[in-house]
Every structure is written in structure tokens, then in C-alpha cells.
């Protein structure tokens, strides 16, 4: 395993601030898309090892819940820039809430999946656009795809199948007022992105 990359305290604070602003934008987008109020948690940022990823996510999601998840790749316009994957995790109760809000017929599986893909795409896009606007540069996206339906967390991300040692994890929880809708947006970026991000952040800090 290569040496772990870390952030300085200033870099960490700066990143936290950038993410706070971005997730507000994502929440706003989601609220406009679903036409309802959205509650947000303060984003958690941490460096995680692959072996403790399911455990870290479980702290937020509750132990025995079955969830459904969508993944989506993102990359900056230049090679060597920030890139990674966004994973959106939904509690199973969320489908009905989303379907109700958007007048979707949730009885059909294909509809349910499309709704989940669309919602994930909007959250991911809005949040990362928010981050990249502040850090400079453009982000491109790959099509979202289903990672798992109604399954356990360890089935989704089995540590031995992940193929990386360390990643930067940004986790934001969204819920809707008056509805059984809970979802967590997790941005995961591999180690080389952490290095790239560190130099972008120190550049930002120098400009202050």
C-alpha cells in the first residue's frame, strides 16, 4: 500500500467550505426538480480506506436497511484533474415519495429505475457543478447506472472488490419535508485526485 495522502488543516477547511456551498446548490436543484423543501446535513469529508467504506456509510444509513444505489462517473476536462464516481444511496421508502412528487407511475420497475437515475443525475450534476465552479474548470459526466436494487450495503461495495486502497469521501444527506425520502450522495475520488485537489486548494488559499 502506498503512503496515505493527507490534507493540511487549511486545505481541509477550504474544501469543507467549497463543498458546503456546492451541496446547497444541489439541494436547491433537487427542491426545484421535486418541487418541495429539501433538508440537508452538513457534508462530511474524510479520507477512507476501502476496508472501512461500508462501515463508514452504515453509520449514516442505519444497520439493517436495504437500499438501492446509482453510480455515475465524473471527470474534469483536463487529464490528471479531479475525477471519481458519485454514488447515490436511497432508502427503499424513497421511491414512493419521489413517484408521488413527480406523478410517476411507480408500479413499473423501469419507471422506478428511471426516476432514481434522473434524481441521482441531478444531485450529482448540481453538486459537482457547484464544486467545479469554485475550483475552476469544467466537469463531464458519464451516464448513471444502477449499482444495486433493494440490497445490503456490503453487497454494493464489498471491500475486496473495490481495487483501491484510499479514497476521498464526501458524504451529504438529503431528506424531504413531510415525505419518507432519504438519500445520501457520496462522492468518491481516488488517491491521484486527492493529490490534484490538494494543489488546487493550496492555489486557492494563496489567492486569498
Amino acid at each position: 500500500m502506498s503512503a496515505l495522502v493527507t490534507f493540511s488543516e487549511d486545505q481541509r477547511d477550504c474544501l469543507q467550505e467549497v463543498v458546503n456551498v456546492a451541496m446547497g446548490k444541489a439541494g436547491d436543484s433537487l427542491a426545484r426538480f421535486l418541487r418541495t423543501f429539501v433538508n440537508l446535513s452538513v457534508p462530511r469529508i474524510r479520507l477512507v480506506g476501502a476496508d472501512c467504506l461500508p462501515q463508514v456509510l452504515r453509520e449514516h444509513l442505519g444497520r439493517d436497511q436495504t437500499i438501492s444505489a446509482v453510480r455515475q462517473g465524473f471527470h474534469s476536462a483536463t487529464r490528471g484533474g479531479v475525477h471519481g464516481e458519485a454514488v447515490t444511496l436511497y432508502s427503499d421508502s424513497s421511491f414512493q415519495a419521489m413517484a408521488d412528487l413527480l406523478d410517476f407511475d411507480s408500479s413499473e420497475d423501469a419507471n422506478q429505475i428511471e426516476l432514481m437515475l434522473d434524481t441521482s443525475n441531478i444531485l450529482t450534476g448540481a453538486c459537482l457543478n457547484g464544486i467545479s465552479e469554485q475550483l475552476g474548470g469544467e466537469v463531464g459526466y458519464s451516464a448513471p447506472s444502477v449499482l444495486g436494487l433493494h440490497c445490503g450495503l456490503t453487497q454494493l461495495m464489498a471491500p475486496e472488490q473495490l481495487g483501491w486502497d484510499q479514497a476521498l469521501l464526501i458524504e451529504i444527506n438529503y431528506s424531504l419535508e413531510c415525505r419518507e425520502f432519504y438519500c445520501t450522495l457520496v462522492l468518491l475520488m481516488p488517491a491521484d485526485t486527492i493529490v490534484a485537489l490538494r494543489s488546487i486548494l493550496s492555489g486557492l488559499l494563496e489567492d486569498l
Binding site: S29, R32, F33, A110, N111, I113, E114, L117, D118, N121, I122, G125, A126, N129, G140, Y141, A143, P144, S145
Partner: protein
């Protein structure tokens, strides 16, 4: 390179870019916020059969009424309003445009399966003034996926089936038996079990060979399927031993089903390699009773009845005598 054709380097690269885009092997077109088409590349021309002049400047939905407008409108609106990408996948929506595809002979798919990406194009003023849409032909992916699903179904079927008789194999039969036992005990509904064994089967194998034995087993399974109802669950339990679960069936009715099968088997002439073969079976029948500790108890009861049928002279149906 011909100098003088372009007035500036940037115009040159731009128009070269446009040419490359025009030739790319994917659909590329742009629309504004009213869904008026702004550009239309060669891929789109070729597959839609409509030239750029027929489409550019016209409303997308008016030109292509096959597009579900409300659905696609919402996708477009989200790109304009939220400045985010949007996607459609063939797995949820097989296609946007009814295009022919390049596997008309071997494909077995009616028209081109498509994945779309909607990309916001931001103007100098910082607003999204157009959306660029790319159309990817994923017909092959769709066909492979279907082949995969088919083999998965086939593998699942094979893992449940006894190859010789086509009945459920022991493992799957047992699973179904346990399910039915649980259902019967939960709802206190009647449920019966028939176990049977072919009489002197070893003799058939020894006298006529294993091929003849296999033919007999196959024929017995066929006859069994003709006798049973759709809800009955039949499996090959061991060599020449079979088991049938009869859900929602009390002992008296199960006995008559078993008797009907015994009679038709005894009356049937199975054709072996050296001429006709007479085959009979001994059957044991037991009914689920509340208070049984588990499926094994019911199985033991039917098994005991089967041995009693053998002892009493074979080619007969015997009800379980002892209750647990």
C-alpha cells in the same frame, strides 16, 4: 493544407471540428429551449432519412411525433434550468427516434436501441442557451444483454431439473416441499405427500440394460405429469424413487390421485428396446397434520406407508397409518 481557404486559424479549426463532428459515428444535434433544432449531423441524416434542411429550424416534436413529448421535455427542461447533464438509457426507454439498425437480419430487435446524453451549452452570458444531444447506437449491447438473460434463465432451469426425467431434481423439489410445508402449517391448510417407488426396477436394469431403465424412468415421469394437476410438485427423489407434494389436498383426494396414477401405470405398455415392458409402482400417501415438527416428519410418514405398500405385495397405494 490549402492556405487561404480559411480566414483565421480559429475558424479553420472550428470548421474542421464541425466536419469531424459531422462524420462521427454517433448522432449529434442541438436544440434551443423551445426544442427547435439548431444542428443535425450526418448520422442523424442517414438514420432519420431527413436532411439537415428538413429538420434544422423546425420543432423537434413536430418533426418526430414518435418522441414522447412530456417525458423528453422534462429532461430538456432540467438541463436548461439546472445546467446539468441528463441521460436516457435503452434499458428504460429503448429509443427516442425510430431508426433502423445495422443488424436487420441477425438482430431480432425492431429498431435501433439508443442511449442519449443531453449536454448543456453555456453562452458567454453564462446561461444555457442550447442543449447538445448525442445519440449512441447500443443495439448490440441490447442483443448481448438479451442473450445473457436467456442463458441465465436456461441455467436456472437446468439447476432445478433432473436431466433424465425433466422433473424437479431432489434439491429443488425439497426446497419447494419445505415451502409448501411452511404454508400448510401457517394457514392450517391441507397438504399431502406421495412417495413412490417402481417395483422391481433393478430387474429391468439387469435384464434389459440401463438404457431400457432410463426409458422407463422417462416414460413414468411423462405419465406422472399427465396425471397430476398444475399445482402439484413432482420430483425425482432418488434412482427410481419419486415424490409429489399436493398442496391444498386432503388425504382422501391424494389417495385417489395416487390410485389413478397407479392404475394408468399398471395399464400402460412401455416400449423397451426388446419389446413391451410391464411396470408397476408402490405408493405411500400421508397428509400434513398440525403439530408436526417439520417436513421430515411428513416425509417419514409417507416413506413408511410406501414400505408398507411394498410389504403388502407391491403395485398398490397405501395411506399412512400412524400419526405423529
Amino acid at each position: 493544407m490549402q492556405r487561404g481557404t480559411y480566414t483565421s486559424v480559429s475558424e479553420m479549426t472550428q470548421s474542421r471540428g464541425a466536419v469531424q463532428l459531422d462524420h462521427v459515428d454517433a448522432g449529434v444535434f442541438e436544440v434551443d429551449c423551445d426544442a427547435t433544432v439548431l444542428s443535425w449531423n450526418r448520422f442523424m441524416v442517414r438514420h432519420s432519412g431527413r436532411g439537415a434542411s428538413e429538420v434544422v429550424g423546425h420543432n423537434l416534436f413536430a418533426r418526430f411525433p414518435e418522441i414522447p413529448e412530456a417525458w423528453f421535455r422534462r429532461k430538456l427542461d432540467s438541463v436548461f434550468a439546472l445546467k446539468t447533464y441528463a441521460f436516457t438509457s435503452w434499458q428504460q426507454r429503448p429509443y427516442l427516434f425510430r431508426f433502423p439498425h445495422n443488424r436487420p437480419i441477425t438482430g431480432g430487435v425492431d429498431c435501433m436501441r439508443q442511449d442519449l446524453t443531453l449536454i448543456p451549452i453555456v453562452s458567454d452570458e453564462g446561461v444555457v442557451d442550447r442543449v447538445c444531444i448525442t445519440v449512441k447506437d447500443v443495439t448490440d449491447v441490447c442483443i448481448y444483454q438479451r442473450m445473457l438473460e436467456q442463458s441465465k434463465t436456461e441455467v436456472e432451469r437446468l439447476s432445478r431439473t433432473d436431466a433424465l426425467t425433466g422433473l424437479y431434481n431432489r434439491g429443488h423439489w425439497q426446497e419447494r416441499f419445505h415451502e409448501e410445508f411452511a404454508r400448510a402449517s401457517r394457514y392450517a391448510s391441507p397438504c399431502s405427500l406421495v412417495m413412490f417407488d417402481l417395483d422391481h426396477f433393478k430387474r429391468i436394469n439387469d435384464t434389459h440394460g440401463h438404457l431400457a431403465g432410463d426409458q422407463v424412468l422417462h416414460a413414468v415421469a411423462e405419465l406422472l405429469n399427465q396425471t397430476l394437476r398444475v399445482s402439484d410438485i413432482a420430483g425425482r427423489y432418488g434412482g427410481e424413487e419419486f415424490a409429489v407434494v399436493l398442496p391444498e389436498t386432503a388425504l382422501a383426494q391424494a389417495l385417489s390421485v395416487a390410485e389413478r396414477f397407479r392404475e394408468s401405470l399398471a395399464a400402460a405398455t412401455l416400449v423397451g428396446p426388446d419389446g413391451p415392458l410391464a411396470v408397476s409402482a408402490s405408493l405411500g400417501v400421508a397428509q400434513y397434520k398440525s403439530g408436526m415438527d417439520g417436513p421430515e416428519s411428513l416425509l417419514r410418514l409417507a416413506d413408511e406407508a410406501l414400505y408398507l405398500a411394498k410389504r403388502r405385495g407391491r403395485n398398490r397405494v397405501q395411506a399412512a397409518v400412524r400419526s405423529t
